[in-house]
């Protein structure tokens, strides 16, 4: 009985922790080097922020194909977007459309 109680308390604690984590939103990093997004495929949760770090000497963008967002990422700089909708978003660089990536945005309850 005691073990069960402890178990459910732990579970509640974990749930509240994960909910708090989702509210705060994590910053998930994507590096850009040699005209490549790395990782090219990413899974995040609603409320998370994706930050691109451009190590190239030319400017890039991260532009959602559905037109939802368009992030400028100057050479040697970073750019970020907070993701507020679930779904799978394909994105590319407007200046170099051969650069592509995908972000899967899950609800806060969904495990990665």
């Amino acid at each position: 009985m005691r073990a069960l109680l402890l178990g459910s308390t732990l579970l509640a604690l974990l749930q509240s922790l994960s909910a708090a984590g989702a509210t705060a939103g994590e910053v998930v990093k994507v590096s850009i080097g040699d005209l490549t997004f790395a990782p090219a495929e990413l899974t995040v949760h609603v409320g998370d922020t994706v930050e691109w770090d451009n190590a190239d000497f030319v400017d890039h963008t991260a532009t959602a194909k559905d037109g939802d967002w368009d992030v400028a990422i100057a050479a040697g700089k970073t750019g970020r977007v907070e993701l507020n909708r679930t779904g799978t978003i394909a994105y590319y660089c407007r200046f170099h459309p051969n650069m592509t990536g995908t972000i899967k945005v899950l609800t806060t309850e969904q495990p990665q």
Partner: protein
């Protein structure tokens, strides 16, 4: 008119291709550096003309990006040749590219409005295709210095991006 430019481009390609066939005559690193720098410089000049003539937002955005990217690539190229102690050397391919670009500038100079926009973008597609093919088939394989080769490979990825960007823009004119 377009045929004459295609001929100049074709001539440049033939030169590059023939250089590839005769391995003994493959371009040297100083020649490769000159060809790559010239190709970028010519595209900047084409973009500057577009920025003077075009009122189309998309075309201007593309041209601005060409100036920025090719200037950045050429700045890096200059820094690299300086570091490597390579002195870029003029050659038939550079000359042919320069002649083709001068003809195109004067041809486009006579156009205006939508006709100019379309001709500029179409030429950007053709020009990047030519330069990218030359990089892939001749310049990169011929480069002896590993750093120069790696730099050209990055340049190729950037220019392949430009080719796709130009193709996308061209498709909006049809």
């Amino acid at each position: 008119m377009r045929t004459s430019t295609s001929c100049s481009l074709a001539a440049a390609m033939t030169l590059l291709a023939s250089t590839a066939v005769y391995a003994a005559d493959k371009p040297s690193d100083p020649q490769i550096a000159h060809i790559a720098y010239t190709a970028g410089d010519l595209d900047i000049k084409a973009a500057e003309q577009a920025l003077k003539k075009s009122k189309n937002k998309q075309v201007r955005g593309f041209a601005e990006n060409m100036v920025k990217d090719h200037s950045a690539v050429n700045d890096q190229a200059l820094a690299l040749v300086k570091k490597l102690g390579v002195t870029p050397e003029d050659n038939d391919t550079s000359k042919s590219l320069t002649k083709g670009a001068a003809d195109k500038l004067s041809e486009l100079g006579k156009l205006s409005g939508a006709a100019f926009d379309k001709a500029y973008v179409d030429n950007e597609v053709a020009y990047h295709k030519t330069v990218n093919a030359a990089l892939e088939t001749t310049l990169i394989p011929s480069a002896s210095n590993a750093e120069l080769k790696s730099f050209l490979q990055t340049g190729l990825k950037i220019f392949q991006g430009h080719e796709q960007h130009a193709e996308h823009l061209a498709s909006t004119f049809k």
